[in-house]
Amino acid sequence: MSNVIKNPRNGCALHGALQTVQEIEGAVPVVHANAGCGVINYLANKTVGNGASRYSGFATPGTAVQERHVIFGGASRLREQIKNTIKVVNGDLYVILNSCESAMVGDDVDAMTREIVEQGEPVACTLIAGFNGGSHYGYEHVIYDILKSIDGVKKNEKSTDEKLINIFGIVPEKDPYWQGNLEEIRRIFAGVGLKANLFFGVYGGVNDLVNAKNAVASVVFSRWGELPAKLLKERFDVPYISVSSLPNLASDERELIEKVSEYAKIDPEVKESFLESEGRYERNYLSRIRDDIFEYDLGKRTLIVGDEEQVIRYGKLFKEVFGARVVGAVLTDALKKDEEHETDNTEILEAVAENIYITSDEKDIEDIIKRSRAQVVIGSSLEKRIAEKNNVSLLEFSYPIYHRAILNQTTVGVRGAVEFVSDYITAVKQAEKEKSQVLHDYLKQLKNQNSWQGHTSKKGQVKQINLVSELAARESI
């Protein structure tokens, strides 16, 4: 029986594949679908504030399939579109993205791709259709498909680079901080003398895809990076390390670097010196907030809504820095039944949060928040309404985040942790200020009117009385 899902925050597999290819510098997506499939993804992501990549939105090459292409097949239309795209759009790699229509009609996209490749053009394709899964699935499978075929498109002899590490599992645009986070991962690896093969963002590009087989190891930061890492292991003997989340604290960074050092050559002195400086950085800033932790009672009941990786990362940070109780974790990217991945984070999640929920339904999430009696919610802009209604502080850190530009800001590594912690303290301080203001206004009113009656609505009155008693209780402590 099907259910209604209110505001699901993830798109389809085509959307995931499209936003992944769009964020690889030099790669040009060619969408074999009706015009709406590509555009709706653009419109959805436009609100998030990551900015637009080079070939996105209305500038995305596509076949704009019409009814006659469904009836008679769209392969020749696709051929025309690939040729035209190659003529007018410069790219190092053209990636054909399949769609529901084309998959149902059975267009032979594979043969069309081979035909163009035989003509010497750098083209790859993915045969996944929108209905195969969500956007995280799209990310994982398009990278897998490109890595599977790129050897036949871009010749490159295998020559292992002892310093090169592939980075998988950070899904562009689904992690609102993906750009900054990739840059931070690069900084951490560079700190110990390693090179990160990021694929996406400022330092990524098509060359990273070509060189992926030359890496000394791959690091998989979420379940969604497992498939491409496994492929490289099977085909090119590139080992991979799976970690449950991106690093946040200096101890996480150390753990990560220690694991990587089993495969990559790292100068012990450089490693120690870098990790020591990371620790110093963290200690310095976190010790600055010790007064706030006690004054504002920052170890609050917390609920986290987001992708599994983010939930684990933010949960650990809140527990370790503030001693917070993570009363619930809502995983918006996980599958109730995941048979494709070996990654099983159940134990880690149970150690982080008291209750685990798997849903991306806004209504379910609102109910979970209401029931949890959480004081703080780390979530997306979709939780704003319920947070305001229940007088809960909301930290918007997971997808989607509206009305904020997020370009190179990061939430990982010690720098990300400090930024995250600062945002949290700011939110708590602002909430306190608003409460004080309400109390102040109320007392002023009382003074002026010297009466309980006729000055406010019943609802407002109750809220004010609650605040007065809360503040009075705190004063007495």
Partner: protein
């Protein structure tokens, strides 16, 4: 939807079972009786109306649609024997595209072109490709396009299996305004147990027989001449069989929602007939007669 002009009848059946032959002969018999008839072939092979129009070339609706030019009724229809208006929906080349969507588009286009208002038919026959393999092929029995469907079947299991599938589709769509079943046209009947098998099948599924059409050399011969039996051998007994069938279909108002058999039920039913046929062919005597 505006009130329908004429009776719209869909004829289904497994590929190669004689749907087009039967439909064309029904059309010819109705035309001979003085009715205005349209026959629409809903099959990418586009050979439904061949025998009505002497195998002459007729551009299909979808061929015209593919060209993208403005389409006129005259471009996609031709009058055949007895003034039967012949139309072929056509479809993509085998192995490419979606024929189901093609039929959908062709039927929509015919409605847009005001075909029925212009021609004012008494009967419209839709000759639909084989099995109901997907939603597209159920279009003629959905959305109120036709209000009655017939299925052509021989006594072969696979033909009855296809008929049962059509029953499933009717069963699904009838409650929301889809067509009901007029009956089963028992085709390629030979002497022996063949009639009995089809009779048993219709009894099991709560349907009825619209007519029995015997296997006949006249049919084969007429087809080779590129004509219907009604045209090539108007005085033959076979022509009368088709005339009777056409009369039944024209007058029949006993439309039912069939009770299709479940997969296991159909298999068991077929198996029981398998045993009986073996006994008949090998002269095994069962029951009371055994004691003789």
């Amino acid at each position: 939807m505006a009130e329908k002009i004429g009776k719209h009848i869909a004829i289904y059946g497994k590929g190669g079972i004689g749907k087009s032959t039967t439909t064309s002969n029904i059309s010819a018999a109705l035309a001979e009786a003085g009715y205005r008839v349209i026959q629409i072939g809903c099959d990418p092979k586009s050979d439904s109306t061949n025998t009505l129009r002497g195998n002459n070339y007729l551009p299909t609706v979808l061929d015209s649609l593919r060209e993208g030019n403005k389409i006129h009724l005259d471009d996609i229809s031709v009058k055949g024997f007895g003034g039967v208006l012949c139309i072929e929906s056509g479809g993509p080349v085998p192995g490419v595209g979606c024929a189901g969507r093609g039929i959908n588009a062709a039927v929509n286009l015919l409605q847009e072109l005001n075909l029925f208002e212009e021609f004012k038919p008494d009967y419209v026959l839709y000759d639909v490709l084989g099995d109901v393999v997907c939603g597209g092929f159920a279009v003629p029995i959905r959305d109120g396009i036709t209000d009655r469907a017939y299925v052509v079947s021989s006594s072969d299991f696979m033909a009855l299996y296809a008929a049962n599938n059509l029953f499933k589709a009717i069963n699904k769509y009838a409650p929301t305004g889809g067509a009901k079943l007029g009956g089963v046209i028992a085709n390629s009947m030979k002497p022996g147990y063949h009639r009995e098998i089809v009779d048993d099948f219709v009894a099991k599924t709560g349907t009825s027989i619209a007519g029995y059409v015997n296997r006949s050399l006249d049919v084969q011969q007429s087809e080779l001449y590129g004509k219907t039996v009604i045209e090539a051998k108007p005085n033959s007994a076979q022509a009368d069989i088709y005339r009777n069938l056409a009369k039944y279909i024209a007058e029949n108002e006993n439309l039912v929602v069939p009770n299709p058999l479940g997969s296991a039920e159909l298999r068991d039913w077929a198996r029981s007939w398998g045993d009986r046929i073996y006994d008949i062919e090998n002269g095994v005597v069962n029951g009371l007669a055994e004691a003789i």
